[in-house]
């Protein structure tokens, strides 16, 4: 069902929260500034008034927020916690990796934790240190934790509904520079799956990406078409953990040349995992090497420099041309 108008990714996120809270009384929200203020990005605006007693401003303590969410879930609720910026997930990393992700395993199924942790991330807004960091590779290395990363309003809605419904914990990465800059239709369909999704067709080369970098890829694909006559397909991974192997391999096999693009740093980034899997599954089918376009192995620089740090359209185009035409 289409609501018939274009919305921003932020609006889609808020709508997903509202609908999830309407759908189940057990859903509660917690986090820094999520109540009265409605979140620093206003993702939770109006929810405190709409759902009294179910939206909680917490003290400034990320570990406490995640740890309390574990307990809230054990106590029978469905917590959706916000970490103000994904960089601060590290303040809660022990609670995420040792507790949230392992409770089902540790308790041999006695407890399971339907917890969603939302966290804005990604570059482009000239944010202070830590605020724009992309940590998905570290999160994907944590067994028991699912990781979702929408790049469009409809996915923000569908994936967030899926995350909240999931009986196990989901780390939900929200692309902050897309919150207000991307608009699209909203499908109030919450029955979809988090499988990878082709966002652009094209036969010559496949650009694999997720989160804000998907849009870099789409721009690059446009440029590849108009400037170079190259038809690039763009695959949005959407669920970063577990990776949708089938969707990934099918898309790659069909185009034979692949480039992986992400905002996280290159070394031990999630791009390496995509490469490793594709060459394992399709070494005889696809053209190797698979190139990676990623941030360099340096700390995220101050805002003024981020354009030199993030994967640019130019770098994606160059890599795609190399993939298509050989070195």
């Amino acid at each position: 069902m289409d609501v018939g108008r274009d919305v921003t990714l932020l609006e889609a996120t808020r709508r997903a929260l509202v609908d999830a809270m309407e759908a189940s009384e057990r859903v509660v929200l917690l986090g820094q500034d999520v109540g009265r203020l409605g979140g620093v990005f206003r993702a939770t605006e109006g929810l405190l008034e709409r759902f009294p007693g179910r939206v909680f401003d917490t003290p400034l303590a990320e570990g406490g927020i995640v740890g309390a969410s574990v307990g809230l879930a054990i106590g029978g609720l469905v917590p959706v916690a916000e970490i103000q910026f994904a960089g601060f997930l590290h303040q809660a990393f022990h609670q995420i990796t040792q507790q949230l992700a392992r409770y089902r395993f540790r308790s041999r199924g006695r407890f399971h934790l339907p917890v969603t942790i939302r966290a804005p991330y990604g570059g482009g807004l000239r944010m202070p240190e830590f605020h724009p960091d992309s940590l998905e590779a570290q999160l994907a290395n944590v067994p028991g934790l699912k990781v979702f990363a929408p790049a469009f309003p409809d996915d923000a809605y569908a994936l967030l509904r899926e995350a909240v419904r999931d009986p196990d914990p989901v780390l939900f990465l929200e692309p902050q520079r897309l919150y207000r800059s991307v608009r699209g239709p909203l499908h109030l369909d919450d029955t979809g799956s988090s499988a990878a999704r082709l966002r652009r067709e094209g036969d010559d080369v496949l650009l694999v990406s997720w989160g804000p970098a998907v849009h870099t890829c789409l721009t690059a694909a446009q440029e590849l078409e108009t400037g170079h006559g190259v038809q690039a397909a763009v695959l949005d991974l959407r669920r970063l953990s577990p990776i949708d192997d089938r969707g990934l391999c099918e898309a790659a096999a069909a185009r034979r040349r692949v480039v992986v693009v992400h905002e996280g740093v290159r070394t031990a980034g999630l791009g390496a995992e995509v490469v490793a899997r594709l060459q394992e599954a399709l070494a005889d089918t696809i053209s190797l090497p698979i190139l990676r376009v990623a941030a360099p192995d340096t700390p995220y620089p101050p805002g003024r420099l981020e354009d030199h740090f993030l994967p640019s359209t130019g770098k994606v185009v160059a890599a795609a041309l190399r993939a298509v035409h050989g070195r």
Binding site: T58, A61, G64, G67, A68, G71, G75, R108, G109, K146
Partner: protein, 352 residues
């Protein structure tokens, strides 16, 4: 029972000494305080003796190489049992740290299941669905925000269960302790936090762990009551915990209880405490044995005699032996168990 007496206030206004109701020889120090029912004392003694029997047996099994690491509760029995006797296992939640064996048993985790865990038969050791208890926690202090979350869910849902959580003196140094306590205060959740101050975190004595005169002093900084109690005094621990549970249940928020005791044994079976503490110190602590104290009290009250205690000790050992036999019949895990219980999907796929 002591509705008029506010132990936390009394303690805060006193000289900082942990509250004591029984003398070291088991005599009643404060006759004005109502004593717990005889049955409760008997049950407490039974659990303490059972706990000793478990420690004894598991240590032996470990020495024989039949069991992994074991961490005894030796010396801390009154602190654990006295506090747990204040809650209702059918209603309340238990959030253990890791060595509170008698509390876990009283809460409903069958002894054979607990032993199964120690023997590595972990599927059988699963906490039964109707037992409101978290698994033991290997990450020091990390259980505390969970306890706050459970207690908070009770507030949100207007349930009246109380959450009883334990942690050690070492755990109080972790950020998790702080974040949990502060949140508990802000949300005024029905939580009773018992800090088992057994003077050591592995080799680290409390004096190197903190410069606080008493850990219970921390509570004020979170805006809720704190009280230090002689952790080797079953009656005193039970008394202050009961009051804290009442407060929590009636919506008055959390309480922090510091139970001052001593770890008579090793940290765990791979530890050698003689490397870091003096025999004289241990000998002094042994004189304050909590089991001896409650036995002395029970004897003077005519609840037991020496022969009855001796019989109980044997009974406890027999109970452990029987449970152990049962535990050994549970299946040992196989390769497939590596992949079970990682997520709902995987469990579903596996069961198809």
């Amino acid at each position: 029972m002591t509705a008029t007496r506010d132990w936390a206030r009394e303690w805060a206004e006193g000289d900082g000494q942990p509250l004591q109701l029984l003398g070291h020889d088991g005599r009643i120090l404060r006759p004005e305080v109502a004593r717990p029912p005889d049955d409760l004392v008997r049950e407490g003694l039974r659990l303490m003796l059972l706990s000793r029997a478990i420690d004894e047996r598991c240590t032996n099994l470990q020495r024989q190489g039949r069991l992994g690491l074991y961490a005894p509760v030796l010396g801390q029995e009154a602190a654990v049992v006295g506090s747990h006797l204040a809650i209702d296992p059918a209603v309340d939640w238990l959030v253990p740290a890791s060595r509170e064996q008698p509390a876990m048993l009283r809460h409903g985790w069958p002894l054979d299941r607990m032993l199964a865990l120690m023997l590595g038969r972990f599927e059988a050791a699963r906490i039964p669905d109707d037992v409101r208890m978290l698994p033991r926690q290997q990450s020091i202090g990390s259980q505390l925000p969970h306890a706050v979350g459970i207690a908070w869910s009770a507030s949100i849902e207007r349930r009246d269960d109380v959450t009883l959580a334990y942690c050690g003196d070492g755990a109080t140094s972790e950020g998790d302790f702080h974040e949990a306590c502060n949140l508990a205060g802000v949300m005024q959740v029905p939580l009773v936090l018992v800090v088992i101050n057994n003077q050591y975190a592995i080799s680290t004595p409390i004096a190197k762990q903190t410069r606080a005169a008493r850990l219970a002093d921390r509570a004020r900084g979170y805006g809720f009551p704190g009280v230090a109690v002689d952790g080797n005094d079953l009656l005193a621990v039970h008394e202050v915990t009961s009051q804290a549970v009442e407060r929590a249940r009636s919506g008055q928020g959390p309480t922090m209880i510091e139970a001052v005791t001593y770890r008579l044994g090793f940290h765990n079976t791979s530890d050698n405490p003689s490397l870091y503490r003096e025999p004289a110190e241990v000998a002094r602590a042994e004189e304050l044995d909590p089991v001896a104290r409650v036995v002395a009290y029970a004897e003077t009250q005519g609840l037991v005699d020496a022969a009855a205690v001796e019989a109980q000790v044997l009974e406890a050992r027999a109970e452990v032996a029987t449970a152990l036999e049962r535990a050994l019949t549970y299946p040992t895990p196989g390769p497939d168990d590596v992949f079970r219980h990682v997520s709902a999907e995987e469990d579903q796929r596996a069961s198809e």
